[in-house]
Amino acid sequence: MDFYFSLAQLIGVHTLLGLSAYIVLLTGQVSLAQAGFFAVGAYTAGMLTVLAGWHLVPALGASALSGAAVACAVGFPALRVKGLMLVIATLAFGEGVRLFFFNFDYQVAVDGIRLGPLGGEGFRQIRFFPENGWGTGEVMLFMWVFVIAAMALLWWFDRSRYGSVLRAVGEDELAAQSVGINLTAVKVSAMTVGGAIAGVGGGLYAHYTTHIEHSSFNILVATFAIAYPILGGLRNVFGTLLAVIFVQGFLVEGLRFMGDWRNLLFGALIVLAMNLRPSGFLGGRRRA
């Protein structure tokens, strides 16, 4: 049973990651910075529970805020460039965050043990769950509360005028500004919401793995983040969830019996999927 619980935890974290990219993709922007926001959230929450002794819930709130703040700060300059330039700018930002944590030391003695991030060694002993005696099942339920909340939030956005405006910007920026939509405000707001979701995801990730290091936030994580909504299609949030279940549940776990070959198949399946369904599983939305 524990195996399925931890699989559900993994799927939960990756869904948050995918949703954070989903809302940015709605505006037509491809951001590879989501792993960076994820990292900021993870280190923020970890340091608050381990070093400052906070409870996890307010620490996750701080993760959301820090993720949002960084995303907003990055959004203003980065969203001045478009398309492929933005892909590269955000990719470089994500790498910059990773390299920052690669060089980030902040250790404090807690009960005689030195704890906290230590550069390339990473940040060990984020033991909020075991210290408070939470079982795998409880942790999973706790995490899914946040996943479902994030999905509900984006579902609501999609049905509101804000959602239509996001999609209008994604479809035709020129027409959108010509009907009075403030492109910068809309794009930065989407980036900020995405940053908050990624931050929460990072905070949860730090606590269920108990150990984070810079390489947990590399380009592959960033590409996974955009891969989920692209594979799932942008029609609604369930496409993203479906893609995460397919990738993490089926490709990564379900094909474990294939050993080494599984990793080979993974890349090949993405290539194949994009050839067969360029608009994603739940696609149909033709993107300009």
Binding site: Y162, S164, G180, I181
Partner: protein, 249 residues
């Protein structure tokens, strides 16, 4: 209403718009005509802020709007349609009008949450009225991309009206229409003028331009070569030369 003073827009060495002076009075239907490449669309793009002018000033209701970004010019009351239709194809007809309600009046009417995150309740009447006006009420839940060509043109006009404009720039609204559709368009344009909207009509289709406009300016090679009433323009020698000379070449 709208005044252009010595407005220029150059692309490298090409003087797409080269020192145009124009004055459009409130309540008028003002025609802007000229051969292909004479700078009409560039003028519209500069007025709406999609292109910065190389030099010159743009006054709207007496104020210099040259430094305003596009979305603020719309909120000030300048709406437009595009020569090549630019709808939000993956949004429904209804949503296309919903996202376009950005007039100062609409922004003030609802609070932040009701406006951005509220449902579709509060704004129905205005959109229903626009759909009725455009003859698209029965298509309101259709994706804009699935509409027929004439319907898309009508929707684009309705989308521009959703911003409650004071000045409406129509960039070749009759392109590709048959004569029956052009007649309907003419009726709509006249109705809009009667509600007090000033209209700048950029058009090639002479039966429309000559039939509805109060005043016409003719552009050629980025410069204004004539201005006057439709009758004056039809008799103007320079205009005849520009058009016939253009065709002969």
């Amino acid at each position: 209403m709208l005044e252009l003073k010595a407005l220029s827009r150059h692309f490298g060495g090409v003087r797409a718009v080269d020192g145009i002076d124009l004055a459009v009075a409130g309540g008028q239907i003002f025609g802007l005509i000229g051969p292909n490449g004479s700078g009409k669309s560039t003028t519209v793009n500069v007025i709406t802020g999609l292109l910065p002018p190389t030099s010159g000033t743009i006054l709207f209701r007496g104020e210099d709007i040259g430094a305003l970004p596009t979305h603020l010019r719309l909120r000030a009351g300048i709406a437009r349609t595009f020569q090549n239709i630019r709808l939000f194809g993956q949004l429904s007809v209804w949503q296309n009008l919903w996202v376009a309600q950005n007039s100062a009046e609409d922004r003030a009417r609802q609070g932040f949450f009701a406006r951005w995150l509220g449902g579709q309740g509060g704004v129905r009447e205005e959109i229903a009225r626009l759909l009725e006006f455009s003859g698209l009420a029965h298509k309101q839940d259709e994706l804009a991309a699935n509409l027929a060509f004439g319907e898309q043109r009508r929707l684009e006009l309705a989308r521009a009206l959703a911003a409650r404009p004071k000045l409406l720039l129509l960039d070749e609204p009759a392109a590709g229409m048959n004569s029956e559709e052009i007649a309907q368009l003419r009726d709509r344009i006249l109705k809009l003028r009667d509600t007090g909207i000033t209209i700048v009509l950029v058009e090639h289709v002479m039966e429309l331009v000559m039939g509805v406009t109060d005043r016409i300016a003719v552009l050629n090679f980025g410069q204004k070569i004539a201005e006057g009433t439709p009758a004056e323009i039809q008799a103007h020698p320079a205009v005849r030369k520009a058009y016939l000379g253009g065709e002969a070449a």
